[in-house]
Amino acid sequence: MRLLLATLLAALAVPGSRSVLAEEGRAPLQPGVGEDLTSANCNACHTSDYIVMNSRFLTTDAWKAEVTKMRTAFGAPIDDATAAAIVLYLGQHYAVPAKP
């Protein structure tokens, strides 16, 4: 059993596993004021697909909470002004109105 498994392990050549990233879908974010800031900051850690995937069902406030989570829980180096611009952009393009 050990020999079999060792052979299998040796045979496992996964060249270029990074090609997962190479196939990466390009940011399909909607054009608009703040799109560049949003892409530049968010794409450091994840593709813009994370944003599109979570649309449209969050309110602007819920997007604000997501951006805050990225800054506080995940340590994204985004200052207050940039965060506000990102929330504004997300609110305009990927949010639903808050229920009254």
Partner: protein
């Protein structure tokens, strides 16, 4: 070698039956519109035709048709990462596993050859993301919008964690086993993905360090070369690319334990609470809830009026499945499905129901499973902020022509 005869015996039959199901091509209509816009079926290294949700970090769901079988093939097994720093196979050259911590008497460093020298256990077990089916939540909640393919069932093989802990010598005040893998955050400011399990679960003979999956090395994206297998518990504890085990007398305090992967206290049944991580208001998501899925026919398929077979799988936290009911009218009336023989308490149990002659029209097919302890799939959604443990029976539509 300790070997579970039940699994060994089941293996041949399980692997010998190729799927005759049609490949799923549809992206479920009840996913959020944005998810539907980005999701598509893709091939990856070692992986064939998975539903892409995100590329970085990589998150890919298995197509629903693979669940006509009790064992999910490695190349169809789902992929889930929290952080974008995924190691390459080359990064794993010279891999070793450290066993350390304040509750360890004799710290160890183990190589793959050391793991191969230890007695080996084998278990057929479901690995399911806690957020599986989050994408079907109504209203939707933020997170990776999984359809129903954030899960799979494989034959996992490797040494029991308890044998490794025994070799390291566990002190009497040991409380939790902390787990770290080789996948890393992109910036130092992001907390590394680290999880813990209680000693009771760590010492369970079914908790193993898998170095083989379905008789092959683990695919890179499923945790090559070694991952923890925690049968009956959600996938978040199944640490991939496992590199460090820390045994501690204190509870692990971090974002991944204290904030993420938690549900309101008392909302979901739990047999053995993770006591050192419980608070008054929330508990960690741990044990799976009973669930089932119809894998054939698929939503939107046309079927023949002379009758057809409805097939799928059911699973739970480890009590075992003892009943699956199927409805053809959206849950108005139910019939008992036939159950395949059980392949293990943590494994998928296959079910099938042969219909009789049916009049033309649209039928809403639903399945619902009950475990040996009497736990049945929830009738109404149990809303929670993380969208975890969605096990509400979900109807699919087929057209009889």
């Amino acid at each position: 070698m300790r070997r579970r005869n039940m699994i060994a015996g089941a293996g041949a039959a399980v692997f010998a039956s190729p799927s005759s199901a049609v490949e799923s091509t549809r992206i479920p209509a009840d996913l959020p519109e944005g998810t539907r816009a980005i999701a598509r079926f893709v091939n990856l290294p070692d992986k064939r035709r998975l539903l892409r949700l995100t590329d970085r970090p990589p998150n890919y769901a298995s197509p629903i048709n693979v669940f006509t079988e009790a064992v999910t093939p490695n190349d169809r097994f789902y992929v889930r990462y929290h952080l974008a720093g995924v190691p390459s196979a080359a990064d794993m050259d010279g891999w070793s596993l450290s066993v350390v911590g304040d509750a360890v008497a004799k710290p160890l460093r183990l190589r793959l050859s050391d793991l191969l020298d230890l007695p080996s256990n084998e278990i057929l077990s479901v690995c399911q993301c806690a957020g599986n089916r989050r994408g079907f939540a109504d209203p939707h909640v933020a997170g990776v919008q999984w359809p129903d393919g954030g899960m799979g069932c494989a034959v996992w093989r490797g040494p029991a964690l308890r044998d490794i802990l025994k070799a390291a010598g566990i002190k009497s005040d040991a409380l939790e086993v902390w787990l770290s893998g080789a996948d890393m955050p992109v910036t130092d400011a992001t907390p590394p993905f680290q999880k813990s399990i209680p000693m009771e679960k760590a010492l369970d003979t079914d908790t193993i360090i898998a170095i083989a999956m379905n008789n092959a090395p683990l695919p890179l994206l499923n945790g090559y070369p070694a991952r923890l297998v925690v049968p009956g518990w959600v996938g978040t504890y199944w640490m991939k690319h496992l590199t460090r085990i820390e045994v501690s007398a204190t509870p692990l305090r971090n974002f991944w334990m204290q904030t993420a992967y938690r549900v309101p206290t008392g909302l979901f049944p739990v047999e053995r609470p993770f006591q050192s991580q419980v608070t008054e208001t929330t508990v960690p998501v741990t044990e799976l809830v009973v669930n089932s899925v119809i894998a054939d026919p698929l939503d939107g398929n046309e079927v023949d009026s002379s009758g057809f077979t409805i097939r799928g799988v059911a699973w739970d936290r480890g009590a075992g499945i003892n009943r699956v009911e199927v409805s053809l009218d959206g849950g108005g009336s139910w019939q008992d499905a036939l159950l395949d023989r059980p392949l293990g308490r943590y494994a998928y149990r296959r079910f099938s129901l042969q219909t009789g002659f049916l009049r033309r029209g649209t039928y809403r097919l639903v399945s619902r499973a009950t475990s040996r302890t009497g736990e049945r799939q929830a009738e109404k959604p149990k809303a929670n902020p993380g969208g975890y443990h969605n096990n509400v029976p979900r109807p699919i539509a087929v057209v009889v022509t």
